[in-house]
Symmetry: C2
Subunit: 241 residues, 2 copies
């Protein structure tokens, strides 16, 4: 399993709509950036458009052994169905899965957590979302969602870079309850409005960046630039302590 | 689009774990049952294991034009990501999608609903779940979930056959608010504990049956049997009015 992380950057590989060769598109970005990142996140758009599991296997293999390879499929089903869905994805090399804590513990997230633990894969639970609708229900029950996530053995929690106060609230909650080892992973950088580094500053451990890198004509240059912004910010945070 | 329904039966095509040829397995069941059902539901397990979009297209095509073809992928992401995920699925013939109302309206379910409406496809929103964990959060906010679903233009709502009191509560809620035209679709029949017909009796319009039919050595015989149970129950319900 993935153990030592240096970079705080995870790249989300969401292919542009209408692109012909999603696999070729993703391989090119992976090859340009793999020495610069902690890992990659593939959502349903990439999984559905990849042209089958063999293609995905090739892409995951190309990332190298030590990378975090997140299937960001936001699982939100009953236990059996979630396990049936991810079994073939584990077989081809995914080692982390996002799931919604909203489904609850009993017959839901608990069983997924136990299964992933047996398979040496990581559970990353969603406790908040980056779009405006996230305030309607999620933010009102975040405590409960965190509780369900931790009891289910989550390695990390997803909370949005677009709402920094939620990141701070979540980090405080984890510290209060002695759950410092739990990672916070923040999507919503760039296209959705968050600035690179903002989430780290507000308590996140990793930032997920998609279009800002993958739609740039020079993905490697952009990833290097973000890494150096992260390095500066981490130095500043360190100096506060 | 799908307009006139006779049967109240929707078959969930979830391939058994470890089966080699998921497509062949599904085609056989579809060919045996397609004159008996309103439609089929395909979850992530089938979509991921099908061997690519061309195979899925063949399966959907085989069902016939008038069928409800539900991608039960329980969408629970931000607007862009959901739309990017389903675009290729609409192209190959899916005409209905399940999504979680708990993601909220603004930038979430509303945008999905608008997109599906433009594409002449149906939104089926999940307002309750069949596993035990469904009581932890879902059941406490069902009113809100129904409200988000209706405002987003849902054609139908998913609620579990395993908890008939939820079905009754939901039907009552829809009647009180004048939303009689909204369909209730109930999974959880058979393997999960609900009996065929129970959900119809408690207010559902359609029952989703999976393993009870698909793992039976004679899927057609089982589907016929369930249809005739449904017919009897509908006659009884009619006679109450």
């Amino acid at each position: 399993m993935v153990e030592s992380f240096r970079s705080r950057l995870i790249i989300a590989l969401d292919p542009p709509a209408g692109i012909g060769d999603s696999l070729g598109w993703a391989l090119r970005i992976v090859n340009e950036t793999k020495d610069l990142v902690t890992g990659y996140e593939l959502g349903l758009p990439m999984i559905i458009r990849s042209g089958g599991l063999n293609n995905l296997a090739r892409l995951l293999d190309n990332m190298g052994d030590e990378k975090l390879k997140i299937a960001d499929i936001k699982l939100a089903d009953i236990n059996d169905m979630m396990i049936l869905s991810i079994e073939p994805l584990i077989d081809i090399g995914f080692n982390a899965f996002t799931a919604h804590s909203f489904i609850g513990y009993d017959g839901g997230l608990r069983d997924l957590g136990e299964y992933l633990s047996r398979k040496n894969a990581l559970l990353i639970s969603i406790v908040s979302m980056s779009h405006r609708g996230g305030v309607e229900l999620f933010d009102k029950v975040m405590d409960r969602l965190v509780d369900i996530s931790i009891r289910s053995g989550s390695w990390g929690l997803v909370a949005p870079a677009t709402r920094p106060w939620i990141l701070r609230q979540l980090r405080r909650l984890l510290e209060e309850r002695g759950w410092r080892y739990i990672k916070i992973i923040a999507p919503g950088i760039g296209a959705q409005g968050g600035l690179p580094g903002e989430a780290l500053k507000n308590g996140a451990d990793f930032e997920i960046v998609g279009r800002l890198i993958t739609r740039n004509s020079f993905p490697r240059r952009k990833a290097l630039e973000i890494n150096s912004m992260h390095k500066n910010i981490l130095k500043t945070i360190e100096s506060w302590r």
